[in-house]
């Protein structure tokens, strides 16, 4: 009997730590995710510090030094079709590429989560109505919708961010609604209702903390798609306009050089690929770290 009594008041073995501390710890032990995170941080840092670390002016070209190969004196990664230094353009390009890739996801996260949590918590007819509207957007393949919107709105950074946000909001909203509906029927939410709490308090204390995690993981996965799409829009001429440096745009303008300087022509795509795959791998790692449950 004493043993049983002891078992009931037994001290938990591990020191208590929060959920996110555990996630971070597991993430730190995942080599793939850590490498991916490092790459992302390096690219982001380079983009932020561009004026300090770039060797040349991204807009200044030279007609006699066009399309020089990698390793040419003075142009470590070669020069583009207007004689501008590639290394500089790539570093500065990171700024815009990251911006147009990440900004729509952030906006969509905020808007989509709000809509999804709202619909998921309220349930019933409002939920059905909102989800049906979202289904209409799902009836378009994302690329098509992005291009349709961009095509209609016109080129430009702001327009392409708006288009991509509109494309991503339904996806995030759907995930948010699904997770919220699951959480809403949990016993602890019912217990909170029994305690007399109003819906706002319940959402704030009990729902948000449990729901934002999975939505966030989904959103980080979306960044890789967003970067490819955003650069793709610029590739088509619908996003960033010349002479601003952006990886997708550079890929387009360098197409004529694939016969003369193929390596240089391919460089901007390498950056898009590298960033995208890093976000993808990091997102996968994050999901694994968050899925562990006792």
């Amino acid at each position: 009997m004493a043993a049983i009594a002891d078992a009931l008041t037994r001290v938990p073995v591990k020191a208590s730590r929060g959920y996110w501390t555990g996630v971070v710890a597991r993430l730190a032990r995942d080599p793939t995710a850590m490498v991916a995170l490092t790459i992302i941080l390096v690219i982001v840092a380079a983009a932020i510090l561009a004026p300090l670390i770039a060797p040349a002016d991204p807009y200044k070209g030279s007609m006699i030094r066009r399309l020089r190969p990698i390793g040419f004196p003075g142009y470590p990664l070669g020069s583009d079709e207007l004689g501008r230094d590639m290394l500089t353009r790539l570093i500065y390009g990171g700024r815009l590429s990251l911006f147009i890739g990440v900004a729509p996801v952030i906006c969509a996260f905020v808007i989509g989560s709000s809509v999804g949590i709202f619909a998921g918590y309220l349930g019933g007819r409002i939920n059905t109505l909102l989800m049906r509207i979202i289904d209409v957007f799902f009836a378009f393949p994302s690329v098509l919708l992005a291009i349709a919107l961009s095509g209609a709105l016109g080129a430009g950074i702001f327009n392409s961010i708006v288009s991509l946000t509109i494309v991503f909001v339904p996806q995030i909203a759907r995930v948010a609604e699904s997770v919220t509906t699951q959480i809403r029927s949990r016993d602890y939410v019912e217990a909170a209702r029994i305690s007399g709490a109003g819906p706002v308090t319940i959402v704030r204390v009990h729902v948000l903390g449990n729901v934002l995690g999975p939505i966030f993981v989904y959103a980080t996965g979306l960044i890789s798609v967003s970067m490819i799409l955003a650069s793709g829009l610029s590739f088509l001429g619908l996003g960033v306009k010349p002479p601003d440096p952006e990886w997708g745009l550079m890929l387009n303008t360098l197409r004529t050089a694939i016969y003369t300087q193929p390596l240089v022509a391919a460089l901007p795509g390498v950056m898009i690929f590298l960033t995208s795959i890093s976000f993808n791998l990091f997102s996968d790692g994050l999901r694994s770290a968050m899925e562990v449950k006792q």
């Binding site: 009836a139 690329v143 098509l144 349709a148 709105l153 088509l236 997708g248 890929l251 996968d284």
Partner: protein, 317 residues
Amino acid sequence: MPLYILRRVLYVLPVAIGVSIICFLLVHLAPGDPLTAVMPIDATAEQQAEMRRAYGFDQPLPIQYGIWLWKVLHGDLGNSIATGRPVLAEVRRAVGNTLILASVATVIGFTFGTFFGFVAGYFRNSPLDKAASALSVFGVSVPHYWLGIVLVIIFSAQLGWLPPTGAGPDGSGNWRPDLEHLRYIILPAITMSVIPMGIIARTVRALVAEILAQEFVQALRAKGLSEWGVFKHVVTNAAPTALAVMGLQLGYLLGGSILIETVFAWPGTGFLLNAAIFQRDLPLLQGTILVLAMFFVMLNLVVDVFQTALDPRIQRS
């Protein structure tokens, strides 16, 4: 079962209407007078007024939508500003090319993707799995337009084996399944297949791993079923979802072909869209998008019904 099909079709109707509304609104999203979007620039004042009345731009929006929808249902998608030809004709011509490309790409993607996915799922956590998973991550992370350029660089610019652009030897408008045209489809199709391959590989891997881990598989093995028998079981269980994903990927490719078609100058709907955007040819843009979106909706419906037919569990609900 027929009741279920009817329900799914009825459900699609409001979605289709919603899609048509969005397509309709696209023209009005564009900055500026919508009239300039549908008219050549050099129209006279009387022609403008006439067009305005014909399109009903002086009417409230819902009525305009009604007029537009009525026309659409009768096959009138307007005329292209650039060529003057009916939009429907242009789209019809282009859709064929895109369908061919997308289908070939889907088949390639599905074949390799399923293979990699199966290998990864069966030999979970082995080096084989890691390699296959790496390939599928690659597939979904690579910017496909860049991959196309890289392939052109390698196989066309450097090696000269394959043509860089076009669907046929004389820049012909259409692709035909003969030896001459075969070389032209290889690079675009492979490029296009990479993303579906990655997604299908990922899906199949997860499916296979999940099925193998289920208790009924252990029970089958304990009863002495051979590995081949187990394999057949896995295939039967995974097939519905895998096929559904393949169907969806085909849909995505149809809609998202614009980037690849731009790289390879493939005369499909994507290329058409590109032209429409740059010529501000809004009727063409609107018409093409409407057709593509409807294709996707119908495809989703087919996939849905098909999946239900194969999976008895869904039927009962």
